[in-house]
């Protein structure tokens, strides 16, 4: 084993003199007060090594021994990942004793003492390659596939697979023979280096199917596709975390990976306490059962922030390889970028914009590109959808992290300070935000057959109404209420109606917080009917009064169960309001 000695410490940057050759990004362990502290090599200059420490460095002495592992940062993949609460390096937080996390404390990622019921899929004699399914175990309620280890190259023949039965994760469940006759024993656990993509699929296709999040402003106006990417930038306090958690609670996904990266501990506690009590809308099971939380809060080691997002993505890819629909959320990707900046500054590298490292855009692009819809070797489909939040300094989107992310993410959910101040939640700016999937012909086609014919056109017309309304508002505020035609007021109030009834959604109301697509379809059609009606008003003041009543009824509808008696009652009220105006229009004309 290669070793070295510590020659310097600046915060979590450690300088090491190594005995033999060292590889970039290899993991090493530094001896300090009876503990071995994990660090990652980030620079190699001959025998002079710089490493970032995933701990606090106060216990390290000059001259301390360093053991190099020859391996990059790896995690363990196997049954038992779901429901776990990991730190950024896949230590199981639940297994850690003590109220405080002590320096150098670790715990096992998987449970080696739990029996899983294994059902074989592969049969002796079959030819397989990396990622192919050998068997399946029940993990909570999910069929967790045991696969040919991703690291195996070339084709293998299955020599044997164990019979159906209960096994421990480290038991051998299959034996494979390589082309040149070497045997490989396969257990339920494999290791994978987190910075590498699990790419054992046949092909990656353009995302084409809507991923239902239950949020109207997303699903209806700016839909994200299964296997798609999105980002949510916004100044502090504008609702990034609330929005992401709403997405987490309501999205129709098989597996959910929640990465809390450099944010508040109390927000994770919220997930810990809430998720077990919430039911997954699709399966009726506890939400906790399909969720893994990776938690590296702002007071936990800074270097592990970067690791945490990669750990999350690797787990997501692992479940995608089982043919599952995975959603991964990271809050906030800016904290990861800042961790890179802190380290780059300590290394005295030549900085890029705002002192971020110059390779930042490439790092972000590379990460987002790991999402996607994939066709597996057995023609099943799996997907990883990624949505990250971005916390721009000073709330200004013209900064490196927001801009680099904008270049790669296909959906943009811009949170606006103004909307948040006016408590118009979710504070997604309807004009600035977009979904590029609305322009994918395959997406449009799918929406035609699965939602309604002409759906995307309807959505775009709705956006036009919003835009017209905002333009009218600008005219009104420049020229004054009575200096513009009454029609301008109508245009403005139609956009207000769409805002209040469609865009705004109460994430703290049990009913309003999730709107199934069927209901969104009803609402969009209803709003478009109203929006495209010819109204007649004598003076501008009448317009506001009329639409405020309409908005009030629409809001009451949103608070009522779909198609319930209460809902119908409000629907009647709405129709009456519209009818009355129509009659008035007829009489007057």
């Amino acid at each position: 084993m290669n070793t070295g000695k510590v020659t310097g410490v600046i915060s979590n940057l450690i300088f090491i003199e190594a005995v033999a050759a060292v590889t970039q990004n290899e993991i090493c362990f530094i001896h300090a007060e009876n503990k071995k502290l994990m660090a990652e090599v980030i620079k190699v200059e001959g025998s002079k090594i710089s490493a970032q420490l995933f701990e606090m460095s106060m216990t390290i002495k000059m001259g301390s021994q360093v053991d190099f592992t020859g391996k990059m940062l790896e995690i363990e993949l196997g049954p038992g990942i779901l429901s776990k609460k990991y730190d950024g390096l896949q230590n199981d937080l639940t297994k850690m004793s003590g109220l405080f996390i002590e320096i150098g404390q670790t715990s096992a990622a998987l449970d080696s003492d739990i029996y899983y019921k294994f059902t074989p899929i592969g049969k002796a004699g079959e030819t397989v390659k990396a990622g192919d399914w050998l068997g399946s175990v029940k993990e909570n309620w999910i069929d967790h596939k045991i696969m040919v280890p991703f690291a195996l190259k070339g084709t293998y023949i299955i020599e044997s697979v164990v019979e159906e039965g209960d096994y421990l994760i480290h038991d051998i469940v299959a034996v494979l023979t390589s082309e040149n006759g070497e045997k490989t024993e396969v257990s339920m656990v494999q290791k994978w280096a987190v910075k590498r993509t699990i790419d054992t699929y046949k092909q990656k296709i353009r995302p084409n199917k809507i991923l239902q999040t239950g949020l109207r402003v997303i699903d209806t106006l700016n839909p994200i596709a299964e296997g798609g990417t999105g980002y949510i930038p916004g100044p502090f306090g504008t609702g990034k975390t609330v929005l992401q958690q709403a997405i987490a609670k309501n999205t129709k996904a098989d597996v959910l990976i929640n990465v809390a990266c450099g944010e508040r501990a109390n927000e994770v506690v919220e997930i810990f306490t809430e998720f077990p009590k919430l039911t997954d809308p699709d399966t009726g099971r506890s939400l906790d059962e399909k969720t893994t939380i990776i938690c590296n809060t702002s007071n936990m080691p800074v270097a592990a922030r970067e690791a945490s997002v990669y750990v999350g993505m690797t787990i997501a890819e692992y479940y995608r390889a089982m043919g599952l629909k995975v959603l991964i959320l990271a809050d906030s990707t800016s904290r990861w970028a800042q961790a890179l900046r802190e380290m780059s500054n300590r290394m005295e590298e030549l900085p890029g914009q705002d002192a971020f490292p110059v390779e930042l855009p490439a790092v972000i692009a590379n990460f987002y590109s790991r999402a996607g819809t994939t066709q597996l070797n057995n023609d099943e489909w799996g997907s990883v959808t990624f949505i990250g939040t971005v916390s721009p300094a000073g709330g200004n989107f013209k900064e490196p992290v927001t801009e680099s992310t904008g270049k790669v993410a296909r959906c943009f959910y811009a949170l606006s300070q103004k909307r948040a101040d006016a408590k118009r939640y979710p504070a997604i700016d309807p004009m600035a935000s977009y979904s590029k999937y609305l322009d994918y012909p395959e997406f449009v086609e799918n929406a035609d057959s699965n939602i309604q014919k002409g759906w995307v056109t309807q959505v775009k017309r709705c956006k036009d109404l919003i835009r017209n309304g905002l333009e009218a508002r600008d005219q009104i505020s420049i020229l004054g209420d009575d200096a513009v035609p009454v029609d301008y007021h109508v245009l403005f109030w139609i956009s207000e109606m769409i805002d209040f009834a469609l865009i705004q959604q109460d994430s703290f109301d049990d009913l309003d917080m999730k709107t199934p697509l069927k209901r969104q379809q009803y609402m969009l059609n209803k709003l478009m009917d109203i929006g495209e009606t010819e109204f007649h008003f004598d003076e501008f003041a009448e317009v506001a009064t009329f639409f405020k009543q309409v908005i009030n009824v629409l809001k009451q509808m949103n608070y009522s169960a779909f198609d319930s008696a209460q809902f119908k009652k409000h629907e009647k009220e709405l129709n009456k309001l519209l009818q009355d105006n129509k009659e008035k229009t007829l009489i007057e004309s």
Partner: protein, 442 residues
Amino acid sequence: MGFKRIYTRISNITKATCTLKAEGARYGELARINGMPAQVISVIGENVTLQVFAGTEGVSSESEVVFTGSQPLLNVSDLLAGRFLNGYGEPIDGGPELHGEARAIKGSAVNPIKRSKPSTLLATGIAGIDLNNTLVTGQKIPFFANADQPYNQVLAEVAMRAEADKIILGGMGLSNDDYLFFKNTFTNAGVLNKIVCFINTSENPPLERLLIPDMACTAAEYFANDKKQKVLVLLTDMTLYADALAIVANKMDQIPSKDSMPGSLYSDLASIYEKSVQFAHGGSITIIGVTTLSEGDITHAIPDNTGYITEGQLFLKQDTDIGKVIVDPFRSLSRLKQNVIAKKTREDHPQVMNALVRLYADAKDAKTKKENGFDLNEYDKRCLEFAKDYSRRLLAVDVNMSIDQMLDTGWELLQNYFKKFEVGIKEEIMNKYWNDDRTIKA
């Protein structure tokens, strides 16, 4: 610790740091130069760089450096109660030396899984806080205020009204007047036995401020965890703390990021604020800070990073229409209010609060319209009238009432100025609280 390591060969001296050749030094270790405290901030080979808290004035290349073998420590025990200490945890009140367990002041993080969800209401009687931005024990939240706002007075008022077993004041760059103000407030209220103060005044060296928050949090952790008490930590002014960080970073030749602040500002501030916690055993640490702004600019790196860390902020502002300081409902936020409103408070709380703020926003639009020289319509005029009343009766910081009273006042305002359909409140709640017999004033 073993033998004392003493060195006298200082090679390099800047205003805040000095470098010498020494063996066995560790990152973060406390040393003394000519008896003055200093901390190791970098070790590269034999070259050890120290940050000298009191500044390097009087340090020569032959000054004596003694390494203590440990990080900065605080002696914790119940004897802390009632004491006034400096940034090193030494008495400044003329009282006896502190005894107790010596604890390193930058303790480990609480395992998130062991935290409880903060859900105990922390009432202050100020409607701008309790109604619109309800606080919870275990929360971290700063006041954002311009230098001319009475932030320390409001902070003291909140501390005196809030229910707490211990109040720990971390004063950074406090003016001597404000220091005495806090001291008098605590003395007059007869609460000296439940306070601990760590004080750095504007007369003390600025770098000594760097130790204050960690000292305060270490004392807080002792009472909250060891003694299972409810602890309230007051940190004022965190902007001056951050300025001190910038001085050190600058002397270390680090590349500054936005507003000349070090790139690690977010992590540095987070390590302090994240000490706030609700333990399962009932003990808690609540942190209320002060971040002074320059001309209300919250996009400056200090308030900006703070906002990204804390669980909301309370924005103090002068309302010229009523001539009082108010808690601005637009820029203020308590992110933990969800944990208690309509759960520990009346069911109508969220809806009333939101309706009032939304209408206040309409009033703001009307005001802009008026300032731009446009005629106001009837609705605009009602909004403006409402805004003044709302500001005076609920937003002003001199209000002191129960949350039920605040809600009743809220309904009264809504009914006085608006029609039923204008308030946009859920029907269920309207049916219960809107009094149809009342007539609208407008």
